[in-house]
């Protein structure tokens, strides 16, 4: 009993600095944000308490719902684009291809490049006048396929999604690769003895073995999708006319561009709520299957 107590103290002392930092940069600001969110405040002058006015204004603002819709697009892009692609790439690498180290580096590169660089690169690719994409289409004689990729309402979200997949799938590739390499050889050998090869083995052995890793990746991908900001800010700035705006951009524009700090804080609280709700749902679904 005595030793346990001492251990607890040691654990507490060990964790204390991290706890202070976490409280300081995560928990307390959320509280402050909550406080601002019920205020009418331009960031400089006097604050006035206005109750839930900010929230009711946000929830009746079409632009906000457009940004929520775009967030859903980004979330689905992550789930059905990045994760499967990351998994496929990881499996290919796990087969022990020649030069897999090289491919792993190449695949992971977009993750370490700054988002602003990624956006600038894709901005050039999508450029209508001299962009690589339109030039390539012209090269193959497909002029009629050329588009105003970022400026056209029909294409802008899709174009952003492609850039978003490119940017992040390397991360999931590395996560999955690590998990794949942890599957004991005996399991695979046993599966093969039982006649499970190729696709069947992937479906019935590999993926179930990766379940917990996949769940983590799903949660990570969702929370990542709620934070997407810089990619879109640089590529389109949320335009044309809010068509590619996401919640973080909406918050940024409200607070910093339009000097509505209270309103912006309320948006940030809503972002937090939305991501908590979605992640809770996903966790529930994951657990039910376990049972």
């Amino acid at each position: 009993m005595h030793t346990l107590k001492q251990n607890k103290l040691a654990i507490f002392i060990g964790l204390f600095p991290a706890l202070v930092i976490y409280l300081g940069i995560a928990i307390i600001p959320i509280g402050i944000s909550l406080y601002y969110s019920v205020m009418d405040w331009n960031g400089i002058g006097k604050m006035t308490f206005i109750g839930l006015d900010n929230y009711s204004r946000i929830l009746t603002d079409d632009t906000f719902w457009l940004s929520v819709q775009n967030n859903v697009v980004i979330m689905l892009t992550g789930l059905v684009g990045q994760l499967p692609l990351g998994l496929i790439m990881a499996m290919l690498l796990n087969k022990g291809l020649k030069g897999s180290g090289f491919f792993r580096t190449v695949g992971f590169m977009p993750v370490v490049i700054s988002s602003v660089m990624v956006s600038l690169i894709w901005g050039m690719i999508y450029n209508t006048e001299y962009g690589m994409l339109n030039s390539m289409l012209a090269f193959f004689g497909l002029e009629s396929w050329q588009q105003n990729w970022l400026g056209d309402m029909k294409w802008s979200m899709l174009s952003i999604s492609v850039a978003y997949i490119w940017q992040n799938c390397g991360l999931y590739m590395v996560i999955f690769l690590a998990a794949l390499q942890n599957i004991p050889d005996e399991v695979n050998e046993a599966a093969e003895l039982d006649g499970a090869t190729g696709f069947r083995r992937t479906l019935h052995i590999t993926i179930p073995m990766l379940r917990s890793t996949i769940m983590v990746a799903v949660v990570y991908s969702i929370s990542n999708s709620f934070r997407v900001f810089d990619l879109i800010q640089v590529l389109t700035g949320g335009g044309p006319a809010h068509q590619t705006e996401v919640m973080t951009l909406y918050m940024y524009n409200s607070a910093f561009m339009n000097l509505r700090y209270g309103y912006g804080s309320a948006v940030s609280i809503l972002i937090l709520l939305f991501s908590l709700i979605v992640i809770t749902i996903v966790n529930r679904l994951g657990r039910e299957k376990d049972a």
């Binding site: 400089i44 105003n148 970022l150 400026g151 934070r227 810089d230 918050m251 940024y252 561009m257």
Partner: protein, 439 residues
């Protein structure tokens, strides 16, 4: 209490840490009031002044400002100017963010009117009435008015910008039968139609940042239809954005869009790319500020190809068609609450920086200034032409009068028109709703 407030504000910045990339909130944390007390050459104290400015792009006037700062430092060895240059597209955002954290630089470049008001309201900038004798003889009241709030002067401008100059390619207009720039709206539309038919993009537009259509277009088109007192009336609730005249002005953007007057990628080209597109001879017109004249004509070997004009008169319009939409820019303001020595140094800097020599140097480089100084004989003929064009009366610039959050609604509304969404009536109604919501 002050520290408490500061802590709270600092925490707010922490929360939006992900955004720090753009606001660069973490840029210069140490805009401390106290100067360094290092020993100067002759035992004098060295004072460090922090200065934030948007003079990062290679514009002619930016070079002039920076040269002047360097000269000041050379002549004042005990004062060091620590510059924080922020690209102009992000400058206002950073200024507001630092203001919210009560963390402004000692010397700041500020915009007049609606942009300055919150800073004054929060007592963040120092009145400089005591210094005004320095500029009494060269700065007319019209140049100072925007920086005068509640009877106190907070900044002096370095530059006058006309935002609505139409640059046009003379050859292309001649090609469709116009040897002079169209002087009525109907003729302009006729020219646009003919240019389009000749396979020429009529107007190059880079509206990714959204301000060009609002500032350079709507300011002056609105003025032509409504006359110059409309925007102030809207603020005072004596007029509404939904008034038919203003809706007609918005409808001009809609009409130009439907005629295919703009380049297809107008919304993902920024303003500088828009200029390039015009300079490279890919479009017949470009509407932008007088500052751009340096790139398009003064420093361009082929500058003669291009002419300048103002937006033509419109039928039944209440505005005077010789007016140009102008605003004074780059007010130099001092942060309030500096200690005595720093404040003295900041005032010394300001007196030195903004004086006749600066204005003359700017003019020599083809920049329009708000001061009444003699125009040097060797000034560019292009500048003289610009002064001639813009010297017949000034119309207000939309975003220097209308509060930011309403401007945002208008910008997004007219951008939507350019992609075929919404109607001029809807844009006007949304703008009116936004301004009604403000108080």
């Amino acid at each position: 209490m002050v520290t408490m407030k500061q802590t709270k504000k600092a925490a707010l910045l922490g929360l939006t840490g992900a955004l720090a990339l753009f606001t660069a909130a973490c840029g210069n944390g140490n805009t401390g009031n106290a100067g360094n007390t290092g020993a100067g050459g002759n035992g004098e104290e060295t004072i460090t002044l922090n200065m934030m400015h948007p003079w990062t792009s290679p514009n002619v006037d930016n070079e002039v400002y920076k040269a002047r700062i360097a000269k000041f430092e050379a002549e004042h060895p005990n004062i060091v100017i620590k510059q924080d240059g922020v690209p102009s597209a992000q400058y206002k955002t950073k200024l507001r963010t630092l203001a919210a954290a009560n963390n402004l630089a000692d010397i700041n470049v500020v915009w007049p009117g609606a942009d300055l008001e919150p800073l004054v309201e929060g007592s963040l900038v120092e009145p400089i009435d005591g210094l005004m004798d320095n500029w009494k003889s060269i700065l007319p009241e019209s140049a100072l008015a925007g920086f005068n709030i509640g009877g106190k002067q907070y900044a002096v401008p370095t530059k006058q910008t006309f935002v609505d100059i139409i640059y046009y390619n003379k050859d292309m207009f001649a090609q469709v039968g116009y040897t002079e720039f169209p002087d009525t709206y109907d003729k302009l539309i006729d020219a646009v139609t003919k240019l389009k038919a000749a396979g020429i993009t009529p107007i190059s537009l880079g509206n990714k940042e959204q301000w060009p259509l609002q500032s350079s277009y709507l300011s002056i088109i609105g003025d032509r239809f409504t006359g110059s007192d409309f925007l102030t009336k809207v603020i005072n609730k004596e007029a509404k954005f939904t008034d038919p005249d203003f809706v007609k002005a918005i409808a001009v953007i809609d009409e130009l869009t439907k005629l295919g007057a703009f380049n297809t990628d107008a919304n993902n080209m920024d303003s500088v790319q828009g200029q390039d597109y015009f300079i490279q001879g890919k479009a017949a017109m470009h509407i932008s500020s007088s500052t751009v004249d340096a790139r398009i004509r003064i420093n361009n070997d082929e500058g003669d190809k291009f002419g300048i004009a103002l937006f033509p008169s419109v039928e039944g319009g209440k505005g005077d068609p010789v007016k140009s939409a102008g605003v004074v820019q780059y007010g130099i303001a001092i942060k309030s609450g500096l200690n005595e020595k720093t404040k003295a140094a900041a005032e010394e800097f300001m007196k030195y920086f903004v004086n006749e020599d600066l204005y003359k140097e700017l003019i020599r480089n083809g920049v329009v200034v708000p001061a009444t100084v003699e125009i040097p004989e060797d000034a560019s003929p292009y500048l003289k032409e610009m002064l001639e064009l813009t010297g017949k009366g000034t119309a207000p610039v939309f975003d220097s009068i209308i509060p930011t959050q309403v401007v945002d609604v208008v910008q997004n509304g007219i951008q939507a028109l350019t992609v075929g969404r919404g109607t001029p009536e809807k844009v006007a109604a949304d703008a009116q709703e936004a301004i009604d919501q403000m108080n």
